[in-house]
Symmetry: C2
């Protein structure tokens, strides 16, 4: 009965006062990033825009994460960033991604225990396609990228909700 009815001895079932939508909201508000993530694809900051575009096609992703030699997140590359770069006159092989990427600390991030609905809100608010899922690392003030969450994951969640496949 999933929260609609409650029972008490000698009283029987009674309505909890929650509407269907409230229960849905309660349900969605328990689903975390960890339940609906994808693997992250990272490139080094010295890589060229040309190679980054190739990596995007080879790995079939819409967002790449840029890391430094310590594997710490330093930037994010969206299809939009790469497309903007391709309008320029310079050869894409000669531009390093570090010039065109969105840099820390201007990157919107999330953690694996965050609620998926918070991420959905961020994606809509900031008009971005995907976020890195990060973990703080000991060796400094940096973050390691441990996952990726995108509008595709959110769409898959809605399909699962409608198919009644979410616990």
């Amino acid at each position: 009965m999933a929260g609609y009815l409650d029972a008490r001895p000698r009283v029987g079932y009674f309505y909890t006062g929650k509407s269907g939508s409230q229960l849905l909201a309660d349900k969605v508000k328990h689903i975390t990033v960890n339940d609906y993530q994808s693997r992250p694809v990272v490139v080094q900051q010295s890589v060229s825009v040309y190679d980054a575009i190739c990596t995007m096609f080879l790995e079939d992703v819409g967002t790449l994460f840029v890391v430094d030699a310590n594997n710490t997140l330093v930037g994010v590359l969206s299809r939009k960033d790469l497309l903007r770069a391709s309008l320029g006159k310079q050869a894409l092989e000669s531009i390093p991604v570090s010039i065109i990427m969105t840099r820390m600390p201007n990157i919107t991030v999330c953690k694996k225990e965050d609620l998926i609905i918070e991420v959905a809100n961020k994606l809509i608010d900031k008009q971005i396609d995907g976020l890195p899922i990060i973990e703080e690392v000991d060796r400094g003030s940096g973050f390691e990228v441990i996952g990726r969450i995108t509008k595709t994951n959110i769409t898959a969640l809605l399909v699962d909700l409608a198919n009644d496949e979410v616990i």
Copy 2:
């Protein structure tokens, strides 16, 4: 009570047998494309790849629809299509979009009365970001584009569902 309980004279309330997830599924299965669409952005098939990329930035969309002189849908351009074109050696100003676009009849389309959950399924299955919402036109066998639906619209729906803002 949104379907959980039903009432009958002299019997009182009784449980309909539907679970919370079933009710959610029922709810989602009534939301149509018409409730969550965006306006379409179209370009002519003679436009260059360079101009199409500029239009994408100016209009702030991830998918463009290509039409002929009769305003009939002939192709779709995604950021991915334009990015692929930018890897080539040819100047983007000299390539018409008709060369690189996905052409009819290989375009996945939907109608405004379709269920949003069917669209979500198509977006996941076909690995695409958005669909044109089409209407058949009298003047031939063609379609006119009347809207656009993307993973962003689906993400917005999930946010509304969680915020209890869907009727």
